[in-house]
């Protein structure tokens, strides 16, 4: 899909004099000015560590502020309305940003630079965005864009960003080298919202908690290098949106494939009380470093 992002890099259209002034003021000042002027929200490309993957020395994230978080920020937009987004690269290397809808080219953001990009008007659904350079995507700086899913609390909205990780690849990217492309991909960690089970149960978006009779929507995005397939115990869900499998919209499913690069939205009606697992039914993905249970596993809890 070619959405003609027509991104606007403000630095590129500013006069050299203004650019020099802004450089002097500094990135933070520019961002604050931009946000105040245009009311945009921001994503900060940040580098840090991740307690759940001790073998991975460094990771990258898209945070909503300059405060480090292990979880990527989730963005929201209204359906059918174009908007802007400020991206601040606090990392020491350049990265390439894109709305991830099949694009192979993006916007390069140099270290310390700030970019304002256009987000096109999109229909209701779940989308992916983030870094598409090898290091950026390999270290996990990819997030979710929810369009038209905000509903003032009803239906309740949850989100699951799925990813698979090979810590050997991550170690290579962290050390500034590219992983050997001839090496087989052997993912050894699997996550929902950058959490691995049982920590997924501590994430209020990964753990779906509902009252009996409630309806919720779950926005799902697959940032990994492989397809995943979510099995819901206790419930069937209805596929509301999908960018890669539109033929499946309207299907009622207990086992939902989420293809590599896909964003989809499902609706769940909590018609029975209890605690029910949801997990990847590709069983290698319900492990942490090879040990079961772990990985891509969470729960739906329905109170009477």
């Amino acid at each position: 899909m070619n959405l003609q992002l027509s991104s606007v890099v403000y630095f590129s259209i500013m006069s050299n004099r203004l650019r020099l002034v802004l450089k002097c003021i500094g990135t933070t000042g520019f961002v604050l000015a931009t946000v105040l002027a245009l009311g945009q929200d921001s994503l900060f490309i940040m580098r840090g560590t991740w307690d759940q993957l001790p073998e991975a020395p460094q990771i990258l994230r898209l945070n909503s502020s300059a405060n480090w978080s292990e979880q990527n920020a989730i963005l929201e937009r209204e359906a059918g309305m174009a908007s802007n987004l400020v991206i601040v690269n606090t990392d020491s290397t350049s990265h390439v940003w894109a709305l991830l809808m099949g694009e192979t080219e993006g916007i390069t953001i140099e270290p310390g630079d700030t970019t304002v990009v256009d987000l096109p008007a999109l229909p209701v659904g779940t989308y992916r965005l983030g870094l598409i350079d090898g290091e950026g995507s390999g270290l996990g700086a990819q997030s979710m864009l929810q369009v038209g899913l905000q509903s003032d609390g009803y239906p309740a909205l949850f989100h699951w960003t799925l990813c698979d990780w090979e810590t050997g690849q991550m170690a290579a990217w962290s050390s500034g080298t590219e992983p050997d492309p001839s090496e087989a991909y052997v993912p050894n960690y699997f996550s929902i919202n950058e959490q691995t089970y049982p920590t997924t149960l501590e994430d209020p978006n990964a753990l779906v908690s509902l009252a009996l009779g409630d309806t919720c929507w779950i926005a799902v995005a697959n940032h990994g290098q492989m397809d995943h397939v979510l099995h819901f115990h206790g419930f069937h869900v209805e596929v509301l949106t999908s960018n890669l499998q539109p033929a499946r919209i309207g299907w009622s499913k207990d086992t939902v494939p989420v293809k590599k690069g896909e964003g989809l939205t499902v609706q769940l009606v909590a018609n029975q009380a209890g605690i029910y697992p949801v997990h990847d039914h590709n069983l290698i993905a319900v492990t942490n470093a090879g040990f079961y249970p772990g990985g891509m596993l969470t729960q739906i809890i329905v109170d009477q």
């Binding site: 052997v186 099995h231 069937h236 299907w251 499913k253 029910y276 069983l283 290698i284 079961y292």
Partner: protein
């Protein structure tokens, strides 16, 4: 009995009998038992250890586990006995059972060694479902503890207002990694399991080319292919246009809009119900590709042979070889049989058979699995229950 003896006797048994799960719907098993000392056999005859479920307490298990069939609307009480040395459960995949009957350790009950349990649920929706052990799932399911569940309607329609069909054809895709099954304790870490045997109803390669594995049809009498996957792989069924296939259901629910599949993707845990009404005289295969979920390489292509029944006149034993009822308490009938030989599950011949006009009297026989060779040719499995 030593493991070696068990293998040898089972190999002997297999050499004279075809023990793979029938693709024809059987009478609902009254009880499931677990087992951890079973074997399946690769096309070259190599025995591979499996864990699984069976119908009888003598430890005889099959890959896949017995087909469970229920009627729509039935209140089901599925009894389960675990005589094996590890705890097990039954997760009724897709049947949306309540938490207590979900078969998940920690949130549902665990059936420990020597225990009996009953899983209770209502079969509210017709369709294709699965079941499997959910204890250390990466190991117990991988070792073979899985099977298919069909919920059907007596009027042979897929669902209320849905299309009619003539016969159910359960087709369960799965795979295994031989090294894991040979050494389950040493199978850690689980994330690097890479299957190397790819199966349809527990068989692969040349096993699927056996005459008794051919799916026969009569023109104008649609077959309901009940496709489900317990594989690690992504399965892609490549439907030839001559099959006139239409996909009506997925995961036990009607699709909003049925469609004619060309390449139907089936991910692990998914099910589809596809009606086929092949062209008269058609004799061909439905190729099923197994693709790696990790690196998208094509791992294997297994074929389902489908043939117009009118082309199989040279094999009269095909008709009536199933035997009924099966399982049985008193007697079992093969309509066209004139002569019969029977072995128990350990390959020991059963003497002094009471057999007359196609009816074998089994009253008083020990509970167990038996194999009958009919008229010196076709061999079939049957079960005697208490």
């Amino acid at each position: 009995m030593s493991t070696v003896k068990h293998i040898l006797r089972t190999v002997t048994l297999i050499s004279t009998a075809c023990l793979a799960t029938s693709i024809h719907a059987q009478q609902q098993p009254p009880q499931l038992f677990s087992g951890m000392e079973g074997y399946t056999f690769l096309p070259d005859g190599t025995p591979v250890p499996i864990w699984g479920y069976g119908w009888v307490a003598d430890g005889f298990i099959t890959l896949p586990a017995p087909l469970l069939t229920y009627n729509e609307g039935e209140s089901v009480q599925l009894n389960f006995t675990n005589p094996s040395p590890e705890s097990h459960t039954i997760h009724l995949h897709g049947l949306d059972v309540d938490q207590a009957n979900d078969g998940v350790p920690g949130t549902s009950f665990l059936v420990t060694t020597g225990d009996d349990a009953t899983y209770s649920f209502d079969a509210d929706y017709p369709g294709t479902f699965l079941y499997h052990c959910h204890v250390t799932t990466t190991l117990h399911l991988t070792m073979g503890m899985y099977g298919m569940v069909l919920v059907t309607r007596p009027d042979f329609t897929l669902y209320e207002g849905g299309p009619a069909y003539a016969e159910d054809v359960p087709l369960l895709f799965s795979d295994l990694e031989v090294a894991t099954n040979l050494d389950p304790v040493g199978s850690y870490p689980f994330h690097d399991i890479r299957p190397d045997v790819f199966m349809i109803n527990g068989e692969s390669g040349s096993q699927l080319e056996a005459p008794e594995r051919i799916v026969h049809f009569e023109p104008g009498q649609p077959l309901a292919l009940r496709l489900g996957s317990m594989a690690y792989s992504r399965v892609v069924c490549q439907f030839p246009p001559e099959l006139n296939a239409t996909c009506y259901m997925s995961d036990g629910r009607p699709l909003p809009t049925p469609f004619e599949p060309n390449a139907l993707e089936i991910y692990p845990g998914e099910r589809f119900t596809v009606l086929v009404d092949p062209e008269p005289g058609w004799d061909g295969t439905l190729p099923c590709e197994f693709w790696s979920m990790v690196d998208e390489t094509l791992e294997s292509v297994e074929n389902i042979h489908i043939r117009d029944a009118a082309l199989t006149v040279e094999e009269p034993q095909f008709i009536g070889a199933m035997g009924y009822p099966n399982p049985t308490r008193e007697c079992i009938t093969w309509d066209d049989a004139r002569q019969i030989e029977v072995w128990n599950a350990y390959g020991v011949p059963v003497a002094d058979l009471r057999f007359e006009r196609g009816v074998l009297d089994v009253a008083g026989w020990p509970v167990g699995t038996y194999v009958a060779r009919i008229d010196g040719g076709r061999s079939v499995r049957f079960v005697v229950i208490g």
